[in-house]
């Protein structure tokens, strides 16, 4: 098996003291977060969540992403069950100052993409060293 082969990873369930009212498991989505000079981009795997069920909230520096799985009607006889379907929830504390007016979110093939542009004040500024 080569290094590039995908491995099964059990969906990680959210560990929290408070319970959700819906009786579905809540999972922690796998994310990629990368930063460029102008923005911070977050990608989260949330399969089975339609775009209208995604909720993104930025409260001070707390970014919360929530995804509610589309209702699935289970029917027939179950032959094999290797994963369970549920909601997604994850929270991050952002260190950069974000321009909240220009936050953009999109969803494609079960992957949520949130682009968080940096506020002008937080952008790196080149400081020129003057030669006297």
């Amino acid at each position: 098996m080569s290094e590039k082969d995908l491995q099964v990873q059990a969906k990680q369930e959210l560990q929290t003291k408070s319970e959700s009212t819906r009786n579905v498991p809540i999972f922690v989505p796998a994310v990629d977060i990368f930063e460029s000079a102008n923005e911070l981009t977050l990608l989260a795997d949330m399969p089975g969540v339609p775009i209208e069920n995604v909720d993104i909230d930025l409260d001070n520096d707390q970014l919360t992403i929530k995804g509610t799985a589309a209702a699935v009607q289970e029917e027939g006889t179950i032959l094999l069950r290797e994963y369970s379907v549920g909601d997604y929830y994850r929270q991050f504390t952002l260190s950069n100052v974000i321009d909240r007016e220009r936050i953009q979110a999109s969803m494609k093939d079960g992957v949520l993409k949130v682009v968080l542009p940096k506020a002008e004040a937080a952008k790196p500024r080149k400081i020129e060293v003057k030669v006297s």
Binding site: D5, M46, E82, S84
Partner: protein, 151 residues
């Protein structure tokens, strides 16, 4: 953790009742392991599949976020379903990664179904990163109804 009562002598006067209790206990332990527990990985081969049967059709579902429809190859031969695919890494330039948890790479998985499939009737849908295959039973694999002739 369930508290299992140690059987008293009175319980052994009816051994069937004790066996019934043991069966129920085993069912519960089994359900825990197969259910949402951390050991619920099934075959351990990517992707995890949910398979169910609805009136002469087998429905196979897999979560494949970030895959493109054209990157997933599905083939059915008699009662074997094969899935292949690849999630390509999106190389970003001039960025620094804070987290990189989403895995990329290839997968290949085969599944033996309980009966032969009508290959022409197979349907595949890919929506919101979830692949859903509907595999109808082959005509010759369906049970034949035999009617009794009145004499």
């Amino acid at each position: 953790m369930a508290i299992i009562r140690y059987p008293t002598l009175a319980d052994f006067t009816n051994p069937f009742r004790e066996m019934d209790r043991l069966k129920r206990e085993m069912d519960r332990i089994f359900a825990d392991v197969m259910g949402r527990g951390p050991g619920a990985l099934g075959s351990g081969v990517f992707p995890a599949l949910n398979v169910y049967e609805v009136s002469d059709k087998i429905v196979v579902q897999a979560e494949l976020p970030g895959f493109k429809g054209e990157d997933i190859e599905i083939s059915v031969e008699r009662e074997t379903l094969s899935l292949r695919g690849e999630r390509k890494a999106e190389e970003m330039e001039n960025v620094s990664y804070h987290r990189r948890e989403r895995r990329t790479g290839r997968f290949q998985k085969s599944l033996t179904l309980p009966y032969e499939i009508n290959v022409d009737g197979v349907e595949a849908h890919f929506k919101d990163g979830v692949l859903k295959l509907t595999l109808p039973k082959a005509e010759h694999a369906k049970p034949k109804k035999i009617s009794i002739k009145a004499q």
